[in-house]
């Protein structure tokens, strides 16, 4: 058999044929943009116009002096600091509640999981209606238990919190599934051994079960932080960054710069790309820090 024929029937050709469509598509729509994004961040670039002027680190420097960028950063951090602990702790408690065989448990689990499949827009509409200042159910119910009417999305101080409530509602099922799987992975024998050793239910949960949830918790912290830092849909659709810019988060600001203002003719694509890259770096550093911290604290089972 000639070398060429051998090549044709070889594994190398087979392998490459199989991966070729994927490699081409991901190369074009995944890898190229990553590199191009970096290049753009060093340019003054237009979205519609072909303008591409090299400006070095000017975009990055501009971030420091841009008050809107700072506000976006503050808002994003505020959102993340609220969203991550609330959603995870709530999910832990809910998963623990769902980890039992009582009547209707399948219905309860379904009720918790369903919100995960609703889209951000659908959820946004539902909560815009619920939180409507004048006709919303929420204010009516709150009034019944003696709390004054809230502005929710229309109140500058409450808007972010309302967003947290809405997104926690949407994500709780996801976190709960992860925790529930982890809880069910804790060997029953360990709980039994702890019971025989004299541990109360409280003690058994915190000293035996909780440490074994370490990997799941780390996963959820990393995942939730990454998604929280990238919040966009809800801000764009529900609050439009307001009121008074109090919910304008980083990705929203990037979108505004590149697509709203950019499409209006301003050459801000480069600047927007720079902000996007800074966010990427923050996410990367934060994730690595979380993993490093996690590995020190968690003891993985062998």
């Amino acid at each position: 058999m000639t070398r060429f024929r051998r090549f044709l029937v070889s594994d190398h050709l087979a392998g490459w044929t199989f991966i070729l469509p994927s490699v081409v598509l991901i190369g074009l729509f995944g890898l190229v943009p990553i590199v191009w994004g970096l290049i753009l961040s060093f340019q003054k670039a237009g979205l519609i116009s072909p303008e591409r002027e090299w400006v070095g680190f000017e975009n990055y420097a501009r971030i420091m002096s841009d008050p809107k960028a700072r506000q976006a950063a503050v808002n994003t951090i505020y959102y993340t600091a609220l969203f991550v602990p609330v959603s995870i702790l709530l999910a832990l408690f809910v998963a623990h509640a769902l980890d039992r065989k009582i009547a209707l448990i399948r219905f309860y689990r379904l009720a918790v999981f369903i919100p995960v499949v609703t889209s951000t827009i659908a959820t946004g509409i539902m909560f815009l209606w619920l939180f409507d200042k004048n006709f919303g159910l929420a204010n009516w119910l709150l009034d019944k238990i003696g709390f004054g009417p809230f502005g929710f999305f229309e109140d500058p101080d409450q808007a972010m919190i309302a967003l947290v409530i809405m997104t926690v509602w949407g994500w709780l099922g996801f976190d709960t599934i992860i925790y529930l799987a982890a809880l069910q992975g804790v060997p029953q024998e360990l709980i039994e051994a702890a019971a025989i050793d004299g541990a109360s239910r409280w003690s058994s949960f915190w000293r035996i079960t909780w440490p074994m949830l370490g990997p799941a918790t780390l996963l959820l912290v990393v995942w939730s932080t990454i998604s929280a830092l990238q919040l966009f849909d809800e801000v764009f659709f529900v609050t439009k960054g307001g009121p008074l810019g109090r919910t304008s988060v980083v990705v929203f600001y990037v979108y505004r710069l590149a697509f709203e203002q950019g499409l209006g003719g301003l050459s801000l694509a480069g600047y927007a790309a720079a902000i996007a890259y800074v966010l990427f770096l923050v996410i990367l550093v934060l994730t690595l820090a979380q993993f490093w911290l996690g590995r020190r604290v968690i003891h993985y089972q062998s």
């Binding site: 087979a14 991966i19 009547a103 509409i125 619920l130 995942w223």
Partner: protein
């Protein structure tokens, strides 16, 4: 003649049927039962209400008249159900077009994902070829990069391909997902390799092995990928927002719904109807394929 010899000391008196099916679990200190049901229901029932309330309330609103929606305190049950709201919502918008577009895009992407990801995953899992490790690593690395970084450049690429304002802009960049390749590669690796080796010895080509042996054994994983990809694509908002700018005929459901809300900010009864209709397919899929969804979410977690 054969006979069965029972254990010598056979069963004593027959058991009282009321005792059958005793409780399971550890012995616990006998506690006074204040309630006729397990106390956890006191937490889980309200939780279920809270989780389902937005949906249920939306359904109720979709069956009210405009006047009823403007009523405060809110009317909890409209009496006569205004099913007409649904047809009105369809008529007053391009709902049909949006639905069709989204269906076309989603089905295309799901199918292409299943095909391309399976091919690539099989190669990564089972074929030794030049550069396999490096390529796999690079692909996985792209998972680390968040969406907003690639948003602008990908837009530019799609623009240069002339796909802006066409469904192609939504389809082409998403024909393959790295997550899908990763998930299937992990899964294929867990299949017993002996089956494939036996087939190779019998002379089967790689493609035949993939189609005849690997795929039939991987239906749960493929179902999971299909379901997850369906959900992502159906619910995607940002990418359609960015790429479909002026061509209303190319709007997806999410995009259309968002503009509908813009146009009908105070006609909640129609907006609610439109919202419910947009959710029906994904809710139906969820109810039918619950296990796949749950598995998919649990596996997404493994990506971390």
């Amino acid at each position: 003649m054969s006979s069965i010899i029972a254990p010598a000391k056979a069963a004593p008196a027959p058991l009282d049927p009321s005792r059958l099916g005793g409780e399971t679990g550890m012995v616990e200190r006998p506690r006074r039962r204040f309630l006729p049901f397990d106390p956890w229901h006191l937490f889980l029932a309200p939780l279920a209400v809270v989780m389902l309330l937005p949906l249920v309330w939306m359904v109720v609103t979709s069956l009210e008249t405009l006047a009823q929606t403007r009523h405060f305190p809110p009317i909890l049950w409209p009496g006569t159900l205004q099913f007409g709201n649904y047809s009105d919502a369809i008529r007053q918008s391009e709902f049909g077009t949006w639905f069709w577009n989204t269906t076309v895009v989603t089905v295309t992407i799901v199918v292409s994902n299943l095909v391309f990801c399976s091919l690539a995953a099989y190669a990564f899992a089972r074929i030794r070829f030049l550069g396999r490790g490096v390529i796999y690593f690079v692909l996985l690395a792209t998972l680390m990069v968040p969406l907003q970084v690639v948003l602008i450049p990908t837009f530019l690429i799609v623009k240069d391909l002339g796909l802006i304002d066409h469904l192609g802009a939504l389809i082409v960049p998403n024909l393959v997902s790295v997550f899908g390749i990763f998930m299937l590669t992990q899964f294929f690796r867990t299949l017993p390799i002996e089956l494939e080796e036996a087939a190779r010895i019998d002379g089967a080509s790689r493609l035949t092995i993939l189609l005849r042996i690997v795929v039939p054994l991987s239906l749960p994983a493929l179902a999971t990928l299909a379901v997850i990809q369906f959900m992502w694509t159906w619910n995607d908002f940002l990418w359609p927002l960015v790429t479909i700018l002026t061509n209303q005929n190319a709007f997806t459901l999410q995009l259309g719904l968002a503009t509908f809300q813009g146009a009908h900010q105070t006609t909640w009864h129609l907006l609610a109807a439109a919202n419910i209709m947009s959710m029906l397919p994904i809710l139906a899929l969820f109810l039918v394929a619950q296990r796949s969804f749950v598995r998919g979410i649990a596996t997404q977690g493994l990506k971390g």
